[in-house]
C-alpha cells in the first residue's frame, strides 16, 4: 500500500503536466496537419508518423482524423503511419515513461516505434495494393 501511494505521488505531477501540455499544444497542432502532406507516399508516411507521435488521445480519435485525411486525398500509407504512431509513440508521455522505466528504455522504444510506424504503413499500403 505504501509503495502504491509513493508511486502515485510520483506520477501525479507528471500526469498533470502531460494533461496541461496536451490541452495547450493539441488544438494548434491539429489545425496544421492537413497542410503537411506532399503527395509522395514515403515522405508523407514519415511526416505523418512524426505528426502522429506528437499527438495524444484515444486511438479512436486517430481513426476519425485518419478517415478525414483519407477523404481529402492523403495516401493510405500516410494515414496508417499517422494512426500507428499516434497509438504506439508517446512523445508527450516520455517524461512519465522515462521516470518509470528509465530514459534509455523510453528513448529506444519510442524511436524504434517511429521507424516501425513508417515500415508498417508502407507494408500495409503495398499489401492492400497487392490483394
Amino acid at each position: 500500500m505504501k509503495k502504491a501511494l509513493a508511486q502515485m505521488k510520483g506520477i501525479l505531477p507528471i500526469m498533470m503536466g502531460m494533461v496541461m501540455m496536451v490541452n495547450l499544444v493539441m488544438p494548434v497542432v491539429m489545425e496544421k496537419y492537413k497542410s503537411l502532406f506532399s503527395g509522395n507516399m514515403v515522405v508523407d508516411s514519415i511526416i505523418a508518423a512524426i505528426a502522429g507521435s506528437i499527438s495524444f488521445g484515444n486511438p479512436v480519435t486517430s481513426y476519425i482524423v485518419g478517415r478525414n485525411f483519407l477523404d481529402h486525398g492523403v495516401h493510405v500509407a500516410a494515414v496508417t503511419a499517422f494512426m500507428v504512431a499516434w497509438a504506439t509513440i508517446g512523445m508527450v508521455a516520455i517524461p512519465l515513461e522515462a521516470s518509470l522505466f528509465g530514459r534509455t528504455f523510453a528513448l529506444v522504444r519510442n524511436m524504434t516505434n517511429l521507424i516501425f510506424s513508417v515500415l508498417i504503413a508502407l507494408a500495409t499500403a503495398l499489401t492492400l495494393n497487392a490483394l
Binding site: M1, K3, A4, L5, A6, Q7, M8, K9, G10, I11, L12, P13, I14, M15, M16, G17, V19, M20, M21, V22, N23, L24, P27, P59, V60, Y63, I64, G66, R67, L70, V76, T80, V84, A87, T88, G90, A93, P95, L96, E97, S99, L100, F101, G102, R103, T104, F105, A106, V108, R109, T112, N113, F116, L119, I120, A123, T124, T127, L128, L131
Partner: protein
C-alpha cells in the same frame, strides 16, 4: 530523468523531483501564454481541469490495481511466467493480455512498472506497450472507418512489429541504474 523510486529515496526529499519540475515548467508555459493570449490559456486550462476530473476515477483504479498486484502477485509468479525463464509462453501471454487489457498509459505504465519490479523482463514490457494498439475493443471502430480488409492487414503487421519491437528494445536498451528492469 530519475526514477520515482530514486526521487523518494530518504535523504533526497528536499530535492525537487523531475515530475514536479516538469509540472512547474508547464505552469510557467501557461503563464507565458497567458500574457500574450489570455483566451487560449483560459480555454486550455479549463479543458485541462475537465480532463483531470475525468482522470480521477482512472487514478483511483490505478492505485487499487497496483495495491492488489503489490499484495497478491508475487515475484516468483512473474519471474516464472513473464521473466527470463518464461520462454515463448511469456510472449504469447503478453500479446494476448495486451490486446484485451483496457486502459490508457496512465493505467498501463504504473502497472507495468510494478510488474517489472517483480521480474517482468523489459522486452515483454515493450511488447505490452506496443501491442496495446491492437485492442479488441477498438477493432470494430477501425473496421467501421477503414473496412475489414485494412483492419486485418494492419493488425497482422502490428502483431509482428510488437514482437520485433520487444526483441530490439530488449537488446538495445542497456539499463541505467534507476530502472529495476531485467533484460
Amino acid at each position: 530523468m530519475e526514477s520515482i523510486t530514486a526521487n523518494n529515496t530518504p535523504g533526497q526529499g528536499k530535492r525537487l523531483s523531475n515530475g514536479m519540475g516538469f509540472f512547474l515548467i508547464m505552469v510557467g508555459l501557461y503563464m507565458g501564454v497567458g500574457i500574450f493570449d489570455g483566451t487560449t490559456m483560459a480555454t486550455a486550462l479549463t479543458n485541462s481541469g475537465k480532463m483531470l476530473v475525468k482522470l480521477m476515477p482512472v487514478m483511483g483504479f490505478v492505485f487499487t490495481v497496483n495495491a492488489l498486484v503489490s499484495t497478491f502477485i508475487h515475484a516468483d509468479w512473474i519471474e516464472h511466467h513473464l521473466g527470463e525463464s518464461s520462454g515463448w509462453q511469456g510472449w504469447v501471454l503478453v500479446l494476448g493480455v495486451s490486446m484485451v487489457m483496457p486502459g490508457s498509459p496512465f493505467i498501463i505504465y504504473p502497472l507495468l512498472h510494478e510488474l517489472t519490479q517483480k521480474g517482468l523482463k523489459k522486452s515483454l514490457a515493450a511488447v505490452f506497450l506496443y501491442n496495446r494498439t491492437v485492442k479488441i475493443t477498438f477493432l470494430p471502430a477501425m473496421t467501421l472507418y477503414f473496412g475489414i480488409r485494412y483492419t486485418v492487414v494492419l493488425s497482422v503487421f502490428i502483431l509482428l512489429a510488437a514482437v520485433l519491437n520487444g526483441i530490439i528494445v530488449g537488446n538495445l536498451s542497456k539499463f541505467p541504474r534507476n530502472t529495476g528492469l531485467k533484460h
